[in-house]
Amino acid sequence: MSSTKLLMTFPVSATSHTLVEYRERGGYATLEKVLRQMTPTQVNDEITASGIQGRGGAAFPMGRKWGVIHLNDGQPHYLCANADEGEPGTFKDRWILENAPHLLVESMVIAAYALQVRNAFVYMRGEFDLPYRRLAASVDEAYEAGYLGERILGTDVSCDLVIYRGAGSYVCGEASALLTSIEGRKPYPRNRPPRLTVRGLYQRPTVVNNVETLANIVGIVANGAQAFRAVGTAKNPGTRLISISGHICRPGVYEIEVGYPWSKFIYEDCGGVRGGRQLKAVIPGGISTKVLTAAEIEPLHLDNQEVEAAGSSLGSGGMIVIAEGTCMVRLLQVMLRFYHHESCGQCTPCREGMGWLHRIIDRVVAGDGRPEDIERLYQISAWNDGTTICGMGDAAGYATSGILNKFRDEFEYYIDNKRSRLHGNLECLASS
């Protein structure tokens, strides 16, 4: 792969995650520079100038989120890394947590300095085991080496980092639910207003950033915003970690420069579709983004602007490749089972709608579909569009209407003939 790397800059080995090797790669030099030579405002300006967008799915500019925090407003601020990587298809933050945990720790201390945060948190999903052990060991190492705790590196700056492990609920990845979970309550997302940067954790201004977004801070501050902007596109600078899975020859986490050609990524970098089959469709960034057909992605580049123009989004970078012969009705059933299972049940459209969608698709797959079911799936999706407390209802609606828009004929065939037009398996056998 020829594109620039900002995060995957070192060969992964059994010890590459340790403090010793991280320091050998120049680790914590940036923190030292920041604490001794830069003011919080300078760090903030650098982040804003870099134009980095959030990597968690919503692509909100990090500088604008940080800009809401008023320094010296006399109240505590909090910083939280969202490591509740629960979007199906997404496993890129896991790479950072397992292989570059100190990069996250260093970035978070810089961010804490810039935002005047005394207590920072990492909210990690409960299923993460190795990532937790690696990050926890790194935090211990960092405390021992004086990069965390009281008077970091002998300066007046102090910051504590606490790792909070969730219990595996999807909705905890939503920033406000995540904070509610840290507070020890049931993780129901909160209504906006107020924004979390105004009243977040413990009712104080709080910044919640994705792990990958935070991990870029060290690079941005070390090399300057201009160097960061030199990578990627003008509107969306930097690189993206893409976790690719599904019917692909070489699944895994890849770092690509924003604007990298999509087909080149799939066919060259990832080795193409498994078993020599044709590409049918791609879910670009986690199942909450709308599916794109093979023809649609052909001319596109991996740049959020372009993908959004095509009616979808790069989301969290969790790419799922779907080979020809995959039954989209079954695929939608799997997705809706997930959304039904993970709906927190707080607000009406999602609580009732997810179950309804799931029961309809179950019935269709069982061969008991009715002609009006397709309209009903559309209708329930529309009822969730922009009307729920958090984005999960919308997301399920996008996923549903996305598949229905592109593959409606498969659903009609299934309903009319009470069976799939294709062989119906979702799995690609290893031998194929």
Partner: protein, 479 residues
């Protein structure tokens, strides 16, 4: 004051108001299930959807702060369509068993269905089954199929009664309201308020369960006499036009249930569980006949005897009831105040197991009208021995230890309920209770509230206000 426009109509809103509050303050109707004026904003039911003009999407009114020049629509086509969809979703897994539901007739879901939906369910799939008659506490059962998870009850126990007794477990459409195991709802003396604020028939009072359809009942405004707070309540009893003749006439004069009568200056929209259980006070065995030393006499004869005894007494002492209304106490003072040494008696004391006092409603004084009684009669009964010279004791109401009467003194008792001492009194006159007359109480803050009669008084029972006037008329000796 920011000026906002609701459906084009200008409204001057309070700066801290939400659109919901501004609309309600100005008589604009926006529907809601989860919102409640006394509770925090949950924003989960989504029925209060409104639309900001020139925006293509709907938002919720309960969480939208007002701002200068804000223009919202509460009945645009899009809002109407969205409300309809919310009603479809609300009733998706609701059993729609109004025919056997106690809430039918006063159910928000029922009303809104007719107002905002009115069409049958679009679903052809089986409903989610859930728990019926879940025993949430000794007083409340929960029908989880009817529950719409508005979380009002949960927020009530967290924010108002502060027992933290309720929470929601599970998630999605399997969510269930449940009581915390270590803090049972039984210990919450305000628990029954969750029955009132439940917008559907999910939380049900065990004492009222299947007792009556609500449309057979009428509320009569009254006052809870359970403590000095004097919460205003509605006493629900059978409507006269639905009077039962053959089946069970006792139902016609029975208190079916008690609910709060919202009163911002006294109790807000809440009452405690003691106020719900007025049956336990008012429906104790009643004394219905006048007696002289245990022998039945008619009311007129008893009044004549009492008047003569009062006339003959040299040192009469009266113990007046702090359950008497302002009118009765004033009548006693006017008619007999000069004749008697008058002490204000505490009719009721704290009962075992009862909460004594808290900072929400419950007061330590378990009587409704102590303030008014003490204003008229400054001396409180300290429970000690009465003056040895006392030769007549008039005891009005309950809570008097008759051992305290000096030997040889004459006893006159005015009481509404059966008690052994009635039969030992020289004269016993039965008096009416609060549900049989009109009157006022003055609560501990000095706020005066009114109560109205629910049931007719039997002719053999005296009305205390008239009785005192009758006792004072000097007997004219026949020439």
């Amino acid at each position: 004051m920011p000026r906002i426009f609701i459906n084009g109509q200008p409204i001057d809103a309070e700066p801290q108001h939400t659109v919901m509050e501004a609309a309600r303050a100005n008589g604009v109707v926006i529907p809601y299930f989860c919102w409640h004026p006394q509770l925090s904003i949950a924003g989960n039911c989504r029925i209060c959807a409104i639309q900001i003009e020139d925006r293509s999407w709907v938002e919720i009114a309960c969480n939208m702060p007002v701002s200068e020049g804000l223009r919202v629509l509460t009945d645009s086509d899009q809002v109407k369509a969205y409300r309809k969809s919310i009603m479809q979703l609300m009733t998706l897994n609701h059993p729609v068993d109004c025919g056997i539901c106690d809430k039918a007739g006063e159910c928000t879901l029922q009303d809104y269905h007719y107002l905002y939906n009115g069409s049958p369910s679009l679903s052809r799939d089986v409903k989610v089954r859930s728990t019926k008659f879940h025993p949430l506490s000794e007083r409340i059962v929960l029908d989880n199929e009817r529950c719409i998870l508005c979380s009002r009850c949960v927020r009530f126990t967290r924010e108002i009664s502060k027992s933290n007794a309720l929470g929601i477990i599970q998630r999605g459409d399997a969510s269930l309201v449940r009581a915390a195991e270590d803090r049972p709802l039984d210990a919450d003396p305000y628990s029954d308020n969750v029955i009132d604020i439940c917008p559907v028939g999910a939380l049900l009072s065990r004492s009222f369960l299947y007792k009556s359809r609500v449309w057979y009942l009428q509320p009569t405004p009254s006052i809870c006499p359970g403590c000095a707070r004097g919460c205003t309540v509605n006493i629900w009893h059978r409507k006269a036009e639905w009077k039962l003749n053959a089946l069970d006439p006792a139902k016609n004069v029975r208190i079916e249930r008690v609910t709060p009568l919202e009163n911002p200056s006294v109790n807000g929209p809440w009452i405690c569980n003691k106020g719900r259980d007025l049956v336990q006070i008012f429906e104790r065995p009643r004394a219905e006949h006048a007696m002289q030393k245990g022998g039945l006499v008619d009311l007129e004869a008893a009044i004549r005897s009492a008047r003569r005894l009062i006339d003959e007494a040299a040192h009469p002492v009266a113990l007046v009831s702090n359950w008497g209304s302002n009118e009765e106490l004033a009548a006693f003072r006017q008619a007999l105040g000069a004749r008697f040494t008058t002490l204000v008696k505490q009719d009721w004391a704290v009962q075992p197991g009862e909460r004594i006092e808290d900072d929400l409603l419950i007061r330590a004084d378990k009587n409704p009208n102590t303030l008014a009684a003490r204003a008229l009669f400054p001396i409180a009964d300290d429970g000690g021995a009465l003056d040895g010279a006392t030769d007549l004791v008039l005891v009005w109401g309950e809570g008097f230890d008759f051992e305290r009467v000096p030997r040889g003194a004459v006893i006159i008792v005015l009481n509404a309920y059966v008690q052994p001492e009635n039969g030992h009194a020289d004269v016993f006159i039965p008096v009416s209770i609060q549900t049989e007359r009109r009157g006022h109480y003055t609560n501990f803050q000095g706020t005066v509230s009114a109560f109205e009669p629910c049931f007719p008084k039997k002719p053999s029972i005296a009305d205390a206000e008239a009785l005192f006037a009758a006792l004072a008329i000097p007997e004219v000796e026949p020439a």
